[in-house]
């Protein structure tokens, strides 16, 4: 098969791919949490509490995922800098 690609030839693509995931996760995570909460509310007859909890957890999840992605990107950049030195 093909030989391994040049080291870090795709570093920019990896970083941009990681950062590309952020906006959608920021939007979709609270929505996913909210709709999960609505579904649980309907099932357990607890409207509106679980929807609110789901929304809040969705925001936390979005923040957490963003933080993880940001940390991963920073680490990749640091590795790249070390290699250049």
């Amino acid at each position: 098969m093909a030989k391994p690609p040049e080291e870090d030839a795709y570093a920019a693509l990896r970083s941009s791919g990681l950062l590309l995931a952020i906006p959608t996760l920021l939007i979709v995570s609270p929505l996913a949490g909210f709709f999960l909460g609505v579904w649980l509310d309907r099932w357990l007859h607890t409207r509106p509490w679980l929807s609110i909890v789901g929304l809040a957890l969705g925001f936390v999840a979005a923040g957490r995922e963003t933080w993880l992605i940001y940390r991963r990107t920073l680490e990749a950049e640091e590795r790249q800098k070390k290699k250049e030195k």
Binding site: M1, A2, P4, P5, E7, D8, A9, Y10, A11, L13, R14, G17, L18, L20, A21, T24, L25, I27, V28, S29, L31, A32, G33, L36, G54, L57, G58, V60, A61, A62, R64, E65, L68, I69, R72, A76, R79, K83
Partner: protein
């Protein structure tokens, strides 16, 4: 054979049970789905304990004290399993539990039959000629179609319940001729271009087969795309040469580009393992996106069902990768936020749902983005084609101004971008699930196959 065969049965049963439980939960209620999943889990655990017991009793250390202890533990585990089975029978539907319990045996029977068939001279004769093999595939597809038609829930529904083809063309004229209305028929927005299936439905308004074809329209088109791609792959690899012909050269170039792309992101240690899945995903989505630009064809990715299916495949593959790379306990630890202190243990009830929501958001975002873009692109083309026809309608012109032409060129670009975005994000989700410190290229030495 032997233990390896059993391990393959376990892994196949696990996938089958998850998919079957999801489908049953959707169509027959969550209790039935849960019952099927619990039955399959019970059966798998029972098989595993039996396997351990046999290995312990018949192994080379069978007369030693550790072996006796292991056998005792396994027997205690089996007793606990029987207790759990009794509890499950009290709480869940017995039919679903039994169906789940039988799943490993069904898989085992099919695997054994497949092994016998694949080793037989009949199979060797059938697959020696690609045309005979193609005839076999078409025969199996026709059989599957006939079986699906005989099931009342899939194909036997009364035509009265099926969506009807539109009776009249819209004001847009023949260039903007509509496909059949979406299911439910309540949509008032612009309709998609006519495709070969909608034309067939219109030509055969009373035929049940045509309505069934319309019902499975995205499936039909996605199968057609898969068939075309398989044909290209077959023709490109049929007579491989050291100095390749144009088709082999083109396919090799695409494969090499995708290999470099995936390995560039995931690193040489993990990348090669995921090239087949991610490469296929890109080529398949790109072909499906572009398929709608061919006259009388439709983009299967303009149906949410197809994009959700693709996103679910990625979601399940990412979770499977997590379990395989981190181990079952490591995966649970990862989902719980890797608690290492008393405070972080207290945070587990919050972190677990947070992580679950984060994971669920990924397939939702993947599927909605692809569906929205491709569907919007189709609608844009329909709107501008209709505008082109309407512009010259005062002259009773049989043709319109091709206002849609620039958007066709734009569609070529956006189709590629959407396929690329889906693949990049799937790769990133895999990257986030892989062990943390392993992505650096400096650590990687040999590719893992």
């Amino acid at each position: 054979m032997g233990l390896e065969f059993l391990a393959r049965v376990r892994s196949s049963t696990l996938w089958l049970a998850v998919l079957a439980a999801l489908m049953v939960a959707n169509y027959a209620g969550w209790r039935m789905g849960l019952g099927l999943a619990a039955g399959a889990a019970w059966s798998l655990a029972n098989l595993w304990t039996l396997e351990r017991l046999v290995v312990t009793i018949t192994g080379s250390e069978r007369r030693t004290a550790p072996s006796a202890r292991r056998a005792g533990c396994v027997l205690a585990g089996m007793l606990a399993l029987f207790g759990a089975g009794a509890l499950l029978l009290r709480g869940l539907p017995p039919a679903a539990l039994v169906a789940g319990f039988l799943a490993p045996f069904v898989v085992m029977t099919f695997k054994a039959a497949a092994t016998l068939l694949l080793d037989s001279p009949l199979w060797a004769r059938l697959t020696r000629s690609p045309w005979r093999a193609l005839a076999l595939v078409l025969g199996v597809a026709a059989l599957a179609w006939a079986v699906a038609a005989s099931l009342p829930s899939l194909g036997g529904a009364s035509p009265a319940h099926e969506p009807q083809a539109p009776a009249a063309a819209p004001a847009a004229g023949h260039a903007g001729e509509p496909a059949a209305k979406p299911e439910g028929g309540s949509s008032t927005g612009p309709e998609k271009f006519a495709n070969v299936v909608s034309v067939l439905v219109k030509a055969n308004p009373g035929a049940e087969w045509a309505h069934r074809l319309h019902r499975f329209e995205p499936v039909v088109f996605s199968l057609l795309v898969a068939l075309l791609l398989s044909l290209v792959a077959f023709l490109a690899t049929r007579k491989r040469q050291l100095i390749p012909g144009p088709l082999q050269n083109g396919v090799e170039y695409v494969v090499e580009l995708l290999y470099d792309f995936v390995v560039g992101i995931l690193g040489p240690k993990y990348g090669p393992r995921y090239v087949p899945y991610l490469g296929t995903l890109f080529v398949y989505i790109l072909a499906m996106n572009l398929f709608g630009l061919i006259p009388f064809m439709d983009s299967p990715t303009s149906s949410l069902n197809v994009t959700v299916g693709l996103a679910l495949c990625t979601f399940l593959y990412v979770q499977y990768t997590g379990i395989r790379e981190l181990g079952a306990l490591g995966y649970v630890d990862h989902m719980a936020g890797s608690p290492r202190s008393a405070i972080s243990w207290c945070m587990v009830p919050i972190m677990l749902p947070v992580h679950l929501i984060g994971e669920l958001a990924k397939p939702v975002s993947l599927s909605c983005r692809l569906f929205g873009n491709v569907f919007g692109e189709d609608m844009l083309l329909v709107a501008f084609t209709s505008l082109g026809v309407a512009t010259l309608s005062f002259m009773h012109s049989p043709v319109g101004i091709p206002w849609q032409f620039p958007f066709l060129v734009l569609a070529l670009l956006t189709s590629t971008i959407q396929a690329l975005v889906f693949t990049v994000l799937s790769t990133i989700y895999l990257l986030l699930m892989l062990p943390h410190e392993e992505h650096g290229h400096e650590e990687a030495s040999q590719p893992v196959h």
